[in-house]
C-alpha cells in the first residue's frame, strides 16, 4: 500500500480547519449541559413529587434514546411547526451549529443528572448527621459537606461523560455542521481514499482525547483529599451502571 504523504498532509490541513468547530461544539455543549443537569438533578431530589417525576421522565427520555434521533427531532422535527418558526427561539434553532449544541446539551444533561445524583447518594449519612449535630443546616450544610463530597465522588464518572461528549460532537456532521468528521466524510466521498482520511481524523480525535484525559486527571488529583476518604468504596462506575429511574 503506497503512502501518499502529500495527500495525508493536505487532508490533515483540511481537517484542522474544522477543528475549531469541533472544539466549540464540545465546550458549549458541556457547559450548557452541566448547567442544565444541575437544574434537573435539583428537580430530581426536591420535595415536590411532580417535579421529581418530571425529572425522572427527562432523564429516561434522554438516556433511553439515541442522540442521533434526538438531533434529527430537534433539527428537522421542531422546524416543521410554524409556531416554532415564529417564536423567539427560531434564530437559535435556525443555525445548525446552535441547534446541534442544544441537542448535545439536552442529551448530556440527562446523563450528567444521573451522575450528579449518584454523587449525592454517595455522601455518607454519618457526615450529614455530624454536620446537623454541629448546627449546620440548609445551604451551609450543602456548601460545606454535601457538595464537596458529592463532587469528588462523581468526578470519575463526570470525566467519562465529558470524553463521551467529545465523541458525540461527530454526530453534528449529520445536520450540516462542518466539524472534523463531516469534513472527513466529504473528503472520502470525493476521493474514495478511506483509510488515509480516517487515519487523519482518528489521529486528531485521539490527540484531543489524550489532552482532555490529562486535564481531567490533573483536576481529579487537585480535588482529592490529602488523607484517605472514609466514604464507602463503590464497585460500580456510575456512568455505566444500569439506570434505575
Amino acid at each position: 500500500m503506497s503512502v501518499d504523504i502529500a495527500f495525508i498532509g493536505d487532508t490533515l490541513v483540511q481537517l484542522l480547519h474544522a477543528l475549531p468547530i469541533t472544539l466549540l461544539l464540545f465546550a458549549a455543549s458541556v457547559a450548557v449541559g452541566t448547567l442544565l443537569a444541575l437544574l434537573v438533578v435539583w428537580l430530581r431530589v426536591c420535595d415536590v413529587a411532580a417535579l421529581r417525576h418530571l425529572a425522572r421522565g427527562y432523564i429516561f427520555l434522554f438516556r433511553g434514546s439515541p442522540l442521533l434521533i434526538q438531533m434529527f427531532l430537534l433539527y428537522y422535527g421542531l422546524s416543521q411547526f410554524p409556531e416554532v418558526r415564529q417564536s423567539p427561539f427560531w434564530p437559535v434553532l435556525r443555525e445548525p451549529l446552535s441547534c446541534a449544541v442544544i441537542a448535545l446539551a439536552l442529551c448530556t444533561a440527562g446523563y450528567m443528572a444521573e451522575i450528579f445524583r449518584g454523587g449525592l447518594l454517595a455522601v455518607p449519612p454519618q457526615q450529614i448527621e455530624a454536620g446537623r449535630a454541629a448546627g449546620m443546616s440548609g445551604w451551609l450544610l450543602a456548601r460545606r459537606i454535601i457538595i464537596p463530597i458529592a463532587l469528588r465522588s462523581c468526578l470519575p464518572a463526570y470525566s467519562t461523560e465529558i470524553i463521551l461528549m467529545m465523541k458525540a460532537t461527530s454526530l453534528a456532521s449529520l445536520v450540516t455542521v462542518y466539524e472534523v468528521s463531516g469534513v472527513a466524510q466529504r473528503i472520502i466521498a470525493e476521493t474514495y481514499r478511506t483509510l488515509e482520511v480516517f487515519l487523519c481524523a482518528a489521529l486528531i480525535y485521539l490527540v484531543l482525547n489524550f489532552l482532555i484525559v490529562r486535564a481531567l486527571a490533573w483536576l481529579e488529583r487537585r480535588l482529592s483529599p490529602r488523607h484517605p476518604v472514609l466514604a464507602c468504596p463503590t464497585t460500580k462506575k456510575y456512568a455505566l451502571s444500569v439506570p434505575r429511574g
Binding site: F60, G64, P66, Q80, S170, F198, L206, R244
Partner: protein, 255 residues
Amino acid sequence: MAARAAAWAGRSLTRLEVGLQVIDLIGFGAKGWGGVLLLAALMTVLVTLAAMAVGAVLGALVAAAKLHPNALLRVLGEGYTTVFRGIPELLVIYLFFYGGSALVSSVGGLFGAEGFISMPAFLVGALAVGVVSGAYQAEVYRGAFQAVSRSELEAAKAIGMPLMLRFRRIIAPQILRFALPGIGGVWQISLKDSALISVTGLVELMRASRVAAASTGQFVLFFMTGCALYLVLTGISNLVLSRAELRVGRTFRRS
C-alpha cells in the same frame, strides 16, 4: 353561542381526522409503516446482540491482556481500549463499512474464493459496534476481576483447588456478579450506537424511521415513533437487567 360550539366541533373533527391519519401511517394497513418499524426494531436488537457477542470475546481477550504480567500485552491492551474508546463510533462504522468489505474480499481472494465475498450490512454493523463495545467491556471485565476477593482465592489455593476448578467455582461467578451492572450499561450504549449503523444500509430502526419520514414527509411523526420504540427497547432492557442483577446477587449478602 351556537357558532362557538360549531367552531369547536369543527376543530375537534379536524383533530380526529389528523389523529386517524396518524394511526393510518404508523399502523399496519396498506399505507402503514408500523410493520416496517417493528421489524426494524427487531433488527436493532439482533444486531446489538451480535455486537455484544463480538465485544464479549474481544473484551475478555483485551482484559486478560491488560492483567497479564507481560508488559507488551498490557501495552497492546491499553492501546486497544484507548483507541476504540477515544474515536467517535461514527468514524469506526465508516471505517468498517468503506474499508472493511474490500479488506475481506482481498483476504478471501488469498484463500482462493471466486469473485467477491459480500459482507452483509449486518456483519459490518455488528463488527463495528462490537469492536467499540469490546473496548468498554474490557474495562468492565478488568474491574470485575480486580474486585474478586484475594483472600478467597488464597484460601482456595491453600486447600489445593486446581486452577480450572478455582476458575469455575470462584472467579467466574464473582466476575459475572460484579460485571453485570457494567455490561448492562454497555448493552444500553451499544443499543444506541446501533442507530449509527443506518449508514451501512441495514434496515434497523433509525434507518426505517428516516426512510418513512422522507417518503411521507412526516418527519416529526416518524422520528417520535422511532424514539418511542427505542425507549421501549431501553425500558425492557432495564427491567431484564435489574431482574438479572437481583438473581445473580441472590446468594451474596448485601454489604
